[in-house]
Amino acid sequence: MTLTVAQMTLAIMPELLMIVLAGVLIVISIINRDKCKQVLGCITAGGMILAIVSAFLFAMPKAEPILMWGGMLRLDSVTFVFRLIFLFGAAVTAIFSCTEETIRCRPEFYMMLVFSTLGMSLMAASCDLIMLFLAIETASIPLYVMAGIKVKEEKSVEAGLKYFLFGGMSSAIMVYGFSLIYGFSGTTQLFDIAQGVIAQQVPLAGVVVAVVLVLAGFAFKISAAPFHFWAPDVYEGAPTSVTGFLSTASKAAGFAALIRVLMILFDANSAEVWQALIAALAVASMFTGNLVAIPQKNIKRLLAYSSIAQAGYILVGLTSHSTLGVSGAIYYLMAYLVTNLALFAIVGWIGRKTGSDSLAAYAGLSKRSPGLALAMLIGLLSLGGIPPFGGFFAKLLVFGAAVESGWAWLAIVGVINSVIGLYYYLRVLKIMYVDEPAENTPLKVKEPLWLIGLILCLVLVTVMGVVLAPWFGISNWAAIGF
């Protein structure tokens, strides 16, 4: 079954709307850039919500997955679910950015956010190496700019430069891998590559080299060890709302493309080529992230190392190469999205009020602002995998999938790491609830929009931990679509 041009255009309606939204923001940036408070963030979030609505109206996947635009994109449940994840993440990020004085009046910041979301959405949809490379760069280049957008702050500039240099290197490595894959198979269409490689009788060593190069590029995007060096510095230096977006949506986009490439290129019989590599990445990420997080004194760095460890847990789900594993990974990404967005929102808010991101600034937070301390508690317990929060089911699903497909040792390593992780999450909670605050002035939230975004995220974290069925249904639906 093929689609007409009109149908194909409707199928990418959310992406087209994002381009229009970016255009509107450009025009605003020309006309007026001083007289604004929260208008820009609201316009961006509103546009994102409009795109979500249009996705439901026009871009619903058909019963059978369909390739469109000459095999470049695929209309299926994966595209649909991940698009919603990115749009939601971007809308919430836009709302949180409204409260950061230095960036809330800069239309170009929101424009970059929109373009980056557009790239991520195409990353999840692309089924062709050319399109995939273009989408990855469309998602990444705006992120470099967003990380370095505070040009008057040393740390932000440094974060942007570091992110750019590491990112450029990793995409160059990945595209070299793509060029080898093209040479071996004679095609760039993901679905034809496996056959092409068999027809050309390429030696296994060549395939392994290409896979390693491509995996290295993806490992950078999802900040898995040993390609994680950029993450702590970039997370610390970038504006906090950008950090939230980077650690969630960007990571989810990397995983979407990675899962797509691995699932299509290798069937169940040839999965051993990459399973051991992914398992090694998972173990390295979990241990590096959790062990290095323990001595950290800066909350953003601590969350950065925690996010490296989380990438490890998600990779455990991938290693099992089963529908359960992949849907566990997608569930994990959804739970992680809302959890980390909420956590970084609080971290950013407290950073602005106290002027510090160090753990010492959180001493006695429960006495200064019981509400925020509770919100922080929910987020950290969800990251630690404690019921009744989303992180619990997420961990349960990925470890369960690993055991089911014979990777029991990997699940055990994962559980050990969860315990290590819990240690430093609880340490932050101890600082917040037991330690005496340095000063006793109560902290009051005066930004209603920001509060709505935060509460929305926290409600979702809790709902995902209490009601499993609908969320698992969504992630399972997406996992079948690969």
Partner: protein, 104 residues
Amino acid sequence: MIPLYWYLLLAALIFCIGLFGVITRRNSVGILISIELMLNAANINLLAFWRYLYAETGDLRGQVFVIIIFVVAAAEAAVGLAMIISAYRQKQTVVANEIDTMKG
């Protein structure tokens, strides 16, 4: 005619020089140049494969891929140079080792 392997070797060599440069160079502009070298290695690979193996079929994917890489490399260089200038304004240096406020 020069065999395909020579082109592939050349590309691999340029890729390794680029990777070595990224790892060892301390100047941000030097690292940027090395990244461009790596991208061009991929371009040589793509064009050589296309010309030797797949040109007769009339399939243009190899060439299209190269053009897309050109465009992306240009965009990346533009953004990268802007970031380097903004770092230079802050620190009066483009040496990556001296831009190290954050550690740990």
